[in-house]
């Protein structure tokens, strides 16, 4: 990515992620990237032929896979990250509305109410976490073959292979959506997003107070829209 001049936080910016969330995302993405790249070199014949060095590639794949959950686990020490995990976990009535709109391919922002994370992001986060753990478990069965009944290895390989393919497709979707949304990428790069973007994409999200305590007071992003959306979807439980 070309270096961009770091513009000072504009008055229309809101804070979306702290350094912990950004670094956890970066480290996880890097490890996942290594896992996917080495997997491709083990699996796709043309790449396997190009790269060879099978024992080395296997070792890199195993250790990057083992390390994949560590950034999130380390990040649990941060209250901000735990708060975001809590937001990802909880689904309100507006998330159902968002999912229905997504299934209808209804792209109007008004029909897709979302808090800090939309329902799609919540589903993705939960699924990719579960899938990573399944990959870790089946990977360990394939790695330490002598620890388990031997027939398990074939079964673990089967699940590992097919789930890898599924993760590859889902991950491509995740990256594709990020590429299509520069402001969302800026949020993870700098921690800040524009107010207009936040109000459009995450109308129910109420960001924290502005980072400059002595800055001009402004109305909370999207509060008006949040009220309207809540009215439409019924009271939050």
């Amino acid at each position: 990515m070309p270096p961009r001049p770091e513009t000072p936080p504009a008055a229309t910016d809101v804070r979306r992620f702290g350094p912990v969330q950004r670094w956890v995302h970066r480290a996880t993405a890097a490890l996942m990237g290594v896992c996917v790249a080495t997997a491709a070199c083990l699996y796709v014949p043309q790449l396997a032929q190009l790269v060879g060095r099978r024992a080395l590639v296997v070792t890199v794949h195993e250790w990057s896979g083992l390390a994949l959950p560590l950034p999130v686990l380390a990040g649990l020490a941060s209250r901000a990250l735990r708060a975001d995990l809590g937001r990802l976990n909880r689904f309100g009535p507006h998330d159902r509305t968002w999912l229905r709109a997504a299934l209808r391919r209804d792209r109007r922002p008004g029909s897709r109410p979302a808090g800090k994370f939309n329902a799609g992001q919540k589903l993705y986060a939960a699924w990719i976490a579960g899938a990573t753990l399944v990959m870790l478990g089946t990977g360990l069965l394939m790695w330490f073959t002598r620890l388990t009944p031997l027939v398990w290895r074939t079964s673990a390989t089967f699940v590992h292979d097919w789930l890898a393919l599924t993760i590859g497709i889902v991950l491509a979707g995740h990256i594709g959506m990020a590429l299509a949304d520069p402001e969302a990428r800026r949020g993870l790069r700098t921690g800040r997003v524009g107010t207009a973007w936040a109000e459009r994409e995450h109308p129910l999200w109420r960001p924290g107070p502005p980072p400059h305590p002595d800055g001009p007071a402004r109305p909370r992003a999207g509060s008006g829209r949040a009220a309207r959306a809540a009215g439409r979807t019924g009271p939050a439980k």
Binding site: R79, V151, R206
Partner: protein, 251 residues
């Protein structure tokens, strides 16, 4: 972080974000459960998928089914970064060790010997299987007999011109009629990617025994573990009776 800045979760309680059903946790646990279920049901699922994909691969002009797990076709495995290429001029296969008449065969000399053609399934220890693959070449027992194995010999060690790979068989295994120095595969000369110009072909065993890029045959007293066997794979690698697998035997 600016210490004067209030922590992020000091923001006003956000009803839409922090309350609601813990669907995320359920999705995560559900994914884990499905994974466990997949492992438990894998033998059944795998048989079904294999037969379906084998049918689909026959009608697939793009070859994309070959990239799916268990989609059929060979996979290229090499343990080194690059493998030198050998042709009819540069290739030599040496036979030495506990033999009376050490030898070095050129490709032409190997081709001049009686050829045996076999059509069997190929089974890799990582799971893929390629049905009914013709291999053609010289019986290993013929080369051993020509060299004159000395008394006291009990095993054969194989080395490869990729510079790293090795394999071993007991002498009894090596003398089996379904063990070849293969020069042709699928009725074509063996290409580089498949271990050409000559590779070992041990029909009844997992395919890692069928060392690619074969360059040396050494008769020894005892079996020395090969490359993958040093890394945990079985030395006696009978298909369906080793490495914890229950694949259908290939012979």
């Amino acid at each position: 972080m600016n210490p004067q800045q209030p922590p992020e979760d000091a923001e006003s309680p956000d009803g839409t974000d922090t309350r609601g059903k813990p669907v995320g946790r359920r999705v995560l646990l559900g994914t884990l459960g499905l994974g466990a279920l997949g492992v438990a049901g894998a033998p059944t699922l795998q048989r079904g998928l294999e037969s379906f994909l084998a049918g689909a691969a026959g009608k697939d002009p793009t070859g994309l089914t070959g990239l799916l797990p268990n989609g059929g076709g060979f996979r290229y495995y090499s343990v080194t970064s690059s493998v030198p290429r050998k042709n009819a001029d540069t290739y030599r296969l040496t036979v030495d060790g506990l033999v009376d008449r050490p030898a070095a065969y050129t490709l032409a000399e190997l081709r001049a010997l009686p050829q045996t053609r076999m059509v069997r399934d190929v089974q890799c220890v990582t799971g893929w299987r390629v049905p009914r693959t013709p291999f053609e070449g010289v019986r290993l027992s013929r080369l051993l007999d020509a060299a004159g194995v000395r008394p006291g010999a009990g095993a054969v060690r194989f080395t490869c011109f990729d510079g790293a790979y090795s394999e071993s068989l007991t002498l009894d295994q090596a003398r089996r009629a379904d063990v070849l120095v293969a020069l042709r595969m699928r009725d074509e000369d063996l290409g580089h990617a498949h271990g050409g110009p000559a590779r070992l072909y041990v029909a009844p065993m997992y395919f890692y025994k069928s060392a690619k890029w074969l360059s040396g045959i050494t008769v020894t007293e005892d079996v020395e573990p090969g490359y993958w066997e040093e890394r945990g794979y079985d030395i006696d690698a009978w298909v369906g009776r080793s490495n914890g697998r229950d694949d259908a035997p290939t012979t």
